[in-house]
Amino acid sequence: MKVIWLIPLLPGIGAAVTGLVGIRFFSKAQTALVACGSMTLAAFLSIYAFIQLLALPSEARVYDVVVASWIPAMPLETAGGMGAFAVDWAFRLDPLSGMMILVVSGIGLLIHVYSTSYMHGESAAGYARFFCYLNLFCFFMLTLVLGANLLVMFVGWEGVGLCSYLLIGFWYHKQSATDAGKKAFLVNRIGDWGFVLGIFLVFFTFGTIDFHEVMVSAAAMPIEATEFGVISLICLLLFVGATGKSAQIPLHIWLPDAMEGPTPVSALIHAATMVTAGVYMVCRNAVLFTHAPMVMTIVAIIGALTALMAASIGLLQTDIKRVLAYSTVSQLGYMFMATGVGAFGAAAFHLMTHAFFKALLFLGSGSVIHAMDDEQDMRRMGGLKMYMPVTFVTMLVGTLAIAGIPPFAGFFSKDEILFQTFLHNRALWVVAVVTAGMTAFYMFRLMAMTFYGEYRGPAWEDAADHGGAERPGIDTENEVDRSRGHGAWHGPHESPPPVTGPLMVLAVGAIVAGFVGIPAALGGGNAIEHFLEPSFTAGVGPAVGEASEVVAIESAAIHSNSHATELGLMVLSILVALGGVALAHRLYLKRPELAEAWRARWTGVHRLLLNKYYVDELYHGTVVRGTMSGGRGLWRFDGRVVDGAVNGSSWLTIVASWCSGLFDRYVVDGAVNLVGWSASESSFSLRRIQTGLIQNYALIMLFGVFVFVSMYLLIS
């Protein structure tokens, strides 16, 4: 168990190998082997670790591993006197992270397997690059999940953002893809700004950034019910980070664009794991959030609004992946709403079930897109049920799950959230129910447009040997051969086993994942929430334990008193879901002309939804344009004013030096020249002595002798 740090490290090694060696030297098979192998090991290790964790008594289900010191201790003032800033490479396995590593490594493995087939059209180098990024993502995601303190979590947090950037822009020759990648990274960075400040404030307040120590310290502080205190500020800042990563209002805009990436990426990163990191982070800091009720309210409201807005946009999208993207945003809003009402367990539960069915839906859509020769527009699909039965069935399972139809996984988790919200805030509950109805509607709209009805796609050449249309879903081996980008497209076809295999596994997951959280009202034990409970409370110390006990007793009381309510709500939500399904059936299968009529009637609303409430345009007009023109303006300022001052002073210097040059030339130089002139003039006469006649010189010498001798004579 001391080797939980190996869980993230294994994919990391895989990434290093495929990245450093693979791009140059590996064949596709070798790359796939390394990538999937490392993920398989990580998944098995995760399962092993999880089993070990389960074996412990529920109060003691924590493993701490400190691998090394990262930032050695340095003294630093904190609110509570002199502290020490120190960060370790510390990992922690507890129920919450245990559940998460299972989800991440499990779904990650499935998506690796799926990608081996899906990305087959790439060159060997691109293939290796893809798996390098994918492995790197798993490395960072597992680091994020297992990190025992905020900064290690931040490492993973930023790292997954990077991988998301790289994978969205994987087809880097596409302008839209690289734009989307950049957008994702930058929007995330804005969130990270809050997250980082939150970390700083956590350190300043508690003198530590270890989750558990923070939890213990925070639990001892009073709940800031009336005033917006320091814990509230921390939570707000952390939540800013979460909105960035989990695409909540107002930072939700990047996620739909992120669909430019390859579909497995959308499934893994932008549905199942990375985008849920925000929810995970809020759950991790559950104690902090419970101490900041005002922020909790904000979280709940933002979550609900996001859920509603995204669902409403999803109603009209025609791109199959964008529908799923908005659905993801909407479901994430659900989870935040759950955390906002204090139902952290429900949020984590929904996180897990969502990971299954959303990954399933994305992979299914990938399969469809692949079958339609990279067509993503649902208006050009239809009737695919008969061509690709496996994909159809598995996607149907996923759709039922997300729509909240029992006994599929989504039903249990979503219902738990609805119930908790109902207890907490009726208005939010109404929003949630409406959203649930919309979810059911647009998901079945998707199914209807894709799998039912007439085939609306382009015609394909009837191959002489065997047409895909006559024998759909058979002979997959040959289909694979042809789908590698060589030769003509032979019509929609079922995908090969590496694609359908994960689909089937995930479909099973989408059916059974909910059973771990069957609510008490239905006679279940709500096992998952009890299992996760220790992660959401400080859990140590007598006073704290007492407090949580009180909470537990209270919640138990609520549970027992409202089994009837809960059952009623369940029925209601099922009805709403079915209503959505029925509406979709009516509008898109029975009477398509009705949809047209409605569109004509509410053009304003239709345009608003189609343009995603113009949020992108708003941001582009204000933030992006403002920053860019600010930059240009400052550059001009730099050139004209700052540099102008410099050049101006140099110009002044030049003028001054010109003046002093004149002075120099006429006054100083004049004096010097005067001396030289007089010297040369006087020498002009003197030089006549130099006649060049030796005898003249001798005469002068002789004359000198004469003078000396005369002097001698005169003296003596």
Binding site: W70, L151, V155, G159, D179, L186, F200, T627, M628, V646
Partner: protein, 516 residues
């Protein structure tokens, strides 16, 4: 002061490049390959003889190590006095490493006046090392000025476009600053004489001095001008983009990686410890300028169309962060500032190398001339990506450590400062990623880019040490931080009484500072 070296390591490090330069003078100018070999070998030797600074330095030893002291001008009390603490030891290592990388990088880039070029580079190397190891302020000033001349010629002769304008601008800016700085040093010198009766330029003696506050104020202003120009801080920065843009690649690398550190080094070595009261007084001004510099540099970088100029403005932004951390006057902030200087040397140095490589192939720096390079130069793209990420402070790379320490150190002093400065990091990601997208991604639209060769072994070799360091510092910075401890403690004990050793319980300072 007992840690006098029995072996004159610092002199050896200091004079190796000088000897190399002298040897080069005697080589026939036509045999350019031989000149290149000699210069590279000398630079390599210079790096290897500096390695003992890493291995022999005792993080827990006395503050000044490897001391050498000989009388120089006894009549005015100037000594040939060398010594390093952890910070300057790291900077010397950075200098020797970046120096050899710069020399290696110019193998094919420089084809005219090869001999003079390498002579100037090696001379510059000696000047920079000298400034970092001098513990006598007159000697420091001497080396400070020695650096100026070769750099002037490097920009003026081997530069591009407006090289003369840039070179003169660089020279005048720095010269004005350094003259005022000399006045400041002389003021300390005479005050030291007045107090102790001894004429001395000894920096370690200056550190023990407590000057009258009003004098400190003026001296600080004088030193500030000298150092702020070099950093460069916000209103004094305009020489930097011009000099960087027009300098040859190796010149830009040295300029960014080492020369800019002179300013911050000066603050750490002179302003903070010698003038503690004035430092505290000037904190609001310097912090404001730093924050303006961070945001301003980032925004202006966003508007650039010239690749190299963009990196140059990013330097302004990053150095603003360094100054911010330093003047937070907390151990974490200063440590972050020091390590960030090292990081900036690595990542920005690498970014200039990266620009230099395509400039050598295409002879243009216009960003719009490029695009889709990751298709034709994949290895180059990977290295550029890693260095971009290092520059924008992605965790597990070096930039993150510096940024997080600086911001944490600032945060405990003032939350607004940290909040505003952190927004500079968002902008940093914006301009760097946009640059990356515009140059590396997309289709190869420009036919001239279609046949660009990828990096050769020599070019890869210039990046390998930088990549290794970037990852090393990102994952395990403890060896670096431990070497900075004594420097930081020393500065803190002078400047911030809260962190003076006597005010901190043994549990924190004694155990934790020495811990790990």
């Amino acid at each position: 002061m007992s840690n006098t070296a029995e072996f004159p390591l610092l002199s050896l490090i200091l004079f190796t490049p000088l000897v190399g330069a002298i040897v080069l003078l005697f080589v026939r100018r036509q045999s350019t390959d031989m000149i290149r070999w000699i210069a590279n070998v000398v630079a390599g030797i210079g790096f290897f003889v500096s390695l003992p600074l890493w291995f022999w330095y005792e993080p827990r030893g006395t503050q000044w190590q490897f001391i050498e002291r000989l009388p120089w001008i006894p009549s005015i009390g100037a000594d040939y006095f060398l010594g390093v603490d952890g910070f300057s030891a790291l900077l010397v290592l950075l200098t020797t490493m970046m120096g050899s990388i710069a020399i290696l990088s110019s193998w094919t880039a420089i084809t005219e006046r090869v001999k003079e070029y390498y002579v100037f580079l090696l001379l510059l190397q000696t000047g920079m090392i000298g400034a970092f190891v001098a513990l006598d302020s007159l000697l420091f000033f001497l080396f400070w000025e020695v650096m100026l001349v070769p750099m002037y010629f490097l920009i003026g002769i081997w530069g591009s476009d407006r090289r003369l304008y840039s070179a003169i601008k660089f020279f005048l800016f720095t010269l004005v600053g350094s003259v005022v700085m000399l006045l400041g040093i002389l003021a300390i010198y005479f005050e030291h004489q007045a107090v102790t009766g001894v004429y001395s330029f000894d920096i370690t003696r200056f550190h023990e001095l407590s000057l009258p506050v009003d004098l400190q104020w003026w001296v600080f202003l004088a030193l500030f001008l000298g150092f702020a120009v070099k950093v460069p801080m916000f209103p004094f920065h305009t020489w930097l983009p011009d000099a960087h843009t027009d300098a040859p690649t190796a010149g830009s690398v040295i300029l960014a990686a080492v020369l800019l550190k002179m300013g911050t080094y000066g603050f750490i070595r002179f302003s903070l410890p010698i003038l503690p009261e004035a430092t505290v007084e000037f904190v609001p001004m310097i912090i404001s300028l730093s924050i303006i510099g961070i945001i301003y540099g980032a925004l202006v970088a966003l508007a650039q169309r010239d690749w190299k100029r963009l990196v140059a403005y990013s330097s302004v932004s990053h150095m603003g962060l360094v100054m911010l951390g330093m003047f937070a006057l907390t151990p974490v902030g200063i440590t972050g500032s020091l390590i960030q200087q090292f990081n900036h040397g690595i990542s920005t140095g690498a970014l200039f190398l990266i620009v230099g490589i395509v400039y050598e192939r295409r002879h243009t720096r216009e960003i719009s001339e490029y695009g889709g390079l990751s298709k034709v130069m994949p290895v180059y793209a990977v290295i550029f990506l890693i260095m971009t990420l290092s520059s924008i402070g992605l965790p597990t790379l070096n930039g993150f450590i510096g940024e997080i320490l600086i911001l944490q150190g600032v945060f405990v002093v003032n939350k607004m400062w940290a909040a505003v400065a952190a927004s500079g990091i968002v902008l940093g990601a914006a301009y760097m990623l946009w640059l990356y997208q515009r140059t590396m991604f997309g289709n190869v639209d420009n036919p001239k880019n279609e046949s660009l060769p990828d990096l050769n072994m020599r070019e890869v070799a210039t990046f390998v040490p930088l990549l290794v360091l970037a990852v090393w510092i990102g994952l395990y910075p403890a060896p670096f931080l431990r070497r900075l401890e004594s420097s930081v403690t020393h500065v803190m004990s002078r400047v911030n009484s809260v962190y003076a050793p006597r005010n901190v319980e043994v549990g924190v300072s004694g155990l934790l500072m020495r811990g790990q």
